[in-house]
Structures are given as C-alpha cells and as structure tokens.
Subunit: 356 residues, 2 copies
C-alpha cells in the first residue's frame, strides 16, 4: 500500500486501544485502520488478546500487528499516538478507557478518538495534555467554518465516484477503500475521501458528515471533494446511510447532492431484504433502488450506477458466486464482492461509465 492516504507524511507510529474488545464487531475502527490505513500501526493495546497478533484474532485485519497488554508496552514498541479503536454504543467514553487515555497522555502519547464524548471537553485529559505537550484529536469535530455549497466550478479533469448503499453496514466503506486501492495499484492518482469517523481514522483527514449541523451536510461534502482534488484527480467518496433509511436518509441525500459525483457504485449485502434493525421496512428491489439513486441525482447532476458491490461475507464461496451472478442478471450491472474477489471488475465498469 502506498502512503497516498498519509497526508501528513510523517508515518507517526500508532497504537490502537480496544480494551478487551478486539475480537468484537464494535472494534471495527481498529480492524479498518489495521487493514486499510497507510498509517504505521505498531501495536494493539488489549489485555484479553495480548501475546497474539491482529490477523490471528481477526483474519480480516490481514497484518500481523502485535497485541500488547498495556500502553507502556506499546510505547516501548515506538508508539507516538494512541487511537481509541472501538465505537461503543452511544459513543460515550467509559471510565476504564478514560483511565488508559490519561495513562497514555502521561506517557507522552497523542490521543485520538471518534467518540461523541469529546476528549477536548474533558478537563482532566485536557490539563494533562497541556502539561505534557501532547495533542488530543477528536475525529468527529467538524470544521468551524462550514457553509453551504456555493456552486463554484470543480477543478477540470476531476472524476468522482460515490459509493451508495441499500442500507447501513452493507460494505460501502470497504467498497470505497478497495476501489481506491485497486485504482492506485493501476498507477492512478486516486484518493479515498472519508466521510465518517472510521474513515477519518484510516485516512488521517475528512469530515464526519453525519455529525455536522444538518444545513451543512452538502457543504461539507462539497468541501471534501475540493480537498480531495488537492490530493488526486480520481476520488472515491465514501457514502453514509441509505436513500430510504428511516433515520439517515437525509445525510445520504445531502452527501449525494453535495459531492455531485460522476458515477455511483451501489453496495448491498447479499440476501438482505429489510432495513437492519427495522425488519418492518422492506428494502426496494435492487433494480428499483438503482433507478431511485439515479433519479435523486438527475436534477442536479446526472450520475449512473455503474456496478453493484455485493457483500457476500455471510455466504460460502459457491453461494457467493451464485449470489453475484444472480444480482448481475437481475440488475444488468457488473456485480462483485470487492473484499472477497478483488475490485478490478467493478473498477473496469466504473471506468467504462466514466469514459476513461
């Protein structure tokens, strides 16, 4: 992996705190950063799994990052920053984590987190950080000068691909990251544009668009595109929510209209028929959903759905291949599981739609 996603370019050694939850799905920030970030991850801090390596516990992580029991051991391995790698329900900072973060600050490490509880609002943490001269970084804090989009022209030659979804947690972020990686492996000046806290932890920049003032979602997306354009000329913009999600559709549409993409990739989880957690709400059939996303774009800037990124993680390999073929037939669009079989077929379909 090239360091295109380490914009600071300092390669600062990072430790990730998961506090006993490394094997849990709530540690998805840790897993995502280990698998995808160009940042140098030197340790996971998790007493429960200490002594093993990340990919031994969670194969998705791929990389053999050592798991240690304490912040002191992580510092011995060279860590200069500590990232909170779990997203607990409600986003609160619990007492055990807080004590460990204080320990990290006292040991001279920067601390970063994407919690709702802001580190910088904690008087004790803030005083300790000032005394030790280390930084507290809240990934979810939005820039103070956000605004609405002003309709200024985009840089010439910029291409924007946006990953949308049939629901939350269906694989939009993984599709975005894998497409960006495949494009960079082809030598293109491709950029992953992060729109949520895990993406920010992975890429080291971005805005959590679901946490800005509602009036500024499209403005934040527009700003992310302009910042991405300073990093490359092919942008893969991570989607959020879903166009018909009962809670998050507003963020989805604001992001769609603010990013004004050229091409969409629709992420879906094979077999999913209702909104997860809201089994009373059926999902639209995929071909209808493809049309709905294209219709949502059309009045502001037409964008075709170029391909379907199908998440087959719950299926065995033969069932996965069958599901992919079935969706491809149903929608008449290139379909693949980018995490399982690679992103190249979908990337080809994206390039065809972009006329690149």
């Amino acid at each position: 992996v090239t360091p295109a996603q380490d914009p600071d370019g300092n390669g600062e050694a990072l430790a990730i705190l998961t506090g006993g939850l490394f094997a849990d799905r709530h540690a998805k920030t840790a897993h995502g950063v280990i698998r995808y970030a160009a940042r140098r991850v030197v340790a996971v801090v998790d007493a429960t799994h200490a002594g093993r390596t990340a990919e031994q516990v969670v194969p998705f992580c791929v990389r053999p990052v050592p798991i240690v029991a304490t912040v002191a051991e992580a510092a011995d391995l060279g860590a200069r920053s500590l990232l909170v790698g779990v997203a607990p329900t409600g986003g609160q900072l619990d007492a055990g984590f807080r004590a460990t973060l204080l320990e990290a600050v006292e040991a001279g490490l920067d601390v970063e987190a994407g919690l709702h509880t802001l580190l910088s609002n904690d008087p004790e943490l803030r005083a300790a950080a000032e005394r030790r001269g280390v930084r507290l970084r809240d990934l979810r804090v939005s820039p103070p000068d956000l605004d609405v989009p002003r309709g200024e022209p985009r840089p010439p030659g910029l291409r924007i691909v946006h990953s949308v979804g049939s629901d939350c947690v269906v694989g939009k972020k993984v599709a975005t990251l894998e497409l960006d990686r495949a494009a960079r492996e082809r030598g293109l000046r491709s950029v992953y544009v992060p729109t949520g806290q895990t993406g920010i932890a992975i890429a080291g920049w971005g805005i959590a668009v679901d946490h800005v003032i509602a009036d500024y979602v499209a403005g934040a997306a527009d700003r992310l595109v302009r910042e991405g354009a300073e990093r490359g000329d092919l942008l893969f913009v991570e989607g959020q929510g879903a166009l018909f999600h009962p809670a998050y559709s507003g963020v989805t549409l604001g992001l769609l209209h603010g990013s004004l993409s050229d091409v969409l990739v629709l992420a879906h989880k094979a077999g999913l028929e209702t909104v997860q957690g809201r089994e009373d709400i059926p999902l639209l059939p995929l071909p209808e959903l493809v049309m709905a996303y294209e219709e949502a774009c059309r009045p502001l800037k037409p964008a075709r759905v170029a391909a379907i990124a199908l998440n087959t993680s719950a299926l065995d390999e033969q069932a996965a291949r069958d599901a992919i073929a079935g969706t491809q037939d149903e929608c008449g669009l290139t379909t693949d599981d980018v995490a399982r079989f690679g992103a190249d077929r979908i990337l080809d379909a994206v390039f065809a739609a972009l006329n690149v």
Copy 2:
C-alpha cells in the same frame, strides 16, 4: 384566531425588536409573528418607524401593533418578553442589538432570539439575566436528548399533512399556517408543527431541524410529530428546503422520512423556473416534482401530493388567477394561493386525500 398555538397558555405580552429594519425583508420573523402568532404582541421596538402601527408599514402584518422607539416604552405597554424579530445575514448578534437586549434584561424582560449567536453563550447577558431573574431563550438550540426515530407506533387517529416545496422561500410556512388556521376555523383539533426558528417564534414550541446534528433530523421530525400529537390530532408540519435544493435537500428528505406524513401539499412560486440564487439549476417541471416527492415517500410510507399551494404574490389578481388555473391543469391537482384567496379549496383537497 384561537390560542391553540400558545401552548403555555399564559398569553405573556411580547415586544418585538427590529432596530430600524421593520420594513425590511430581514424582519420576516417579526412579520410572521405579528400575522400568525397567537401570542399577545403589544409593541414593535423600532425607532425608524416609531409612532405608526405595524400594518401601516407592512400590510402583510394585518394587525395594528404600535411601533415604539425604546424598550422602556414597550415595557410601559406591558411587555414581559422581547423577541429579536430580524434574521440578519449570518445570524450574528451585532453590537447595537446586544446593547438593547441588555437594556431589556435590566428592565426585567425575558429575551428570546433565533440567532446563530446564542444569547446564553454571552457572559454579560447571562450574568445580567441571572441577577434580574429573567430567562434567555435561544430558539435554535435543539433539545440535548435527540435521537434517531425508533419506529414506535404513532397515536391512533393522528393525521399528518406536510408542506413541501419546489425551492426555499416559496411559501411553505405560510401554506402550513393558513391550512392550520382554516382547519381550526372549521372546529378541528389542528396543530401547526414548527420546524424552523421563525415557526418556533410564532408557535412558542418546535425544533429548528436545520440546526440539529445531521444524523438526528429524522429523529427530530419524529419527536415533533409526537409532541404535536399531544396538542391535537390533525398536524400541519412545516417543510424545510426542497428535495432537489443543492444545499438543503438532506434536511428536506430527513424531515419527510421522519415525519412520515399521510398527505403532502406542494408549495411553489408562480413563474419560478430555477433555484433562487442558483440560476444554473432548473427546477423540475411540477408534475415530475410531484412524482419525485411521492416516490421519495413510498418505500417508508406512501403519501400523495393532494394539492399545490401557489404563491402568486408577484402577480396582479388576473395573472394570479390565470397562473392558478394553468398549474391546476398542468398537474391535475387542486391549486390555489392560500394567502391571497384563502386555504379552503386546498383544505378540501387535503381532506379528500385523507379520506376525512
């Protein structure tokens, strides 16, 4: 007008501060409150127009509220609260207004405002309010305990009508207020549900959904519907933005999906063909926009557009009647200008769509 929109029921006497701008469009909060609020407005504080009455300066206001030069005169007329009645560009509190607000606090008046600059964040204002025992009320502050909608059943028998628009500033709020008023005049337990700061100033409750954290727009709308249901059984929910507005569409869709209305009324300004302020973006033809709103609702809860509320304020009476007839033919939907010709025809169409 019945006091159904004065939920506190205290009829507290209100003065409205416009500081020389009463005749200006930026004083729309003052104009809306005077025309529509059930609150007892005893004075406008505006030295430029002092000595006249509100409807003499701005006919839209209808009511002969005296305009006085100073807060002291307003207090002599019985005012117990002072509302900032202008929405300056940027929403900042300027020095002149701030001095007048301090004077009001010292005179023992509560102060309320819908500015971005929060009154309660101003140390001097806050200290003075505490000393004098008066309240500072920031209309745009959202409740601290907002959340996503949980899909809990709505009260039985509740009917929800939502005013959507082809653009911002086309008459959604006026349509909502006039429909609610007409329904109450027919003896129904109707409620205007305010979703922005002017609406909150008018009705004395509500949430400015454009200023909540983006993830909570639908949750805020759902909460407003539940609060409205405690006040009546026929709700007219004010819309915000427009489904294809380049900046505000996310708020529009979140509000649509959070309110889960039974029937929509589409507000449009006669002759408008592009987004105001963005003449590079054509509006959809109205029949297509009607379909787009209905399609946006369908997967979560189908809702028909029952009528078009056409704002003909820029036309003379004959041109207005022609425009109404033309739109009615084009869309096949009852069309009228509620501010000019009354809300009864549209209300009949709404009731027909509700099967009431």
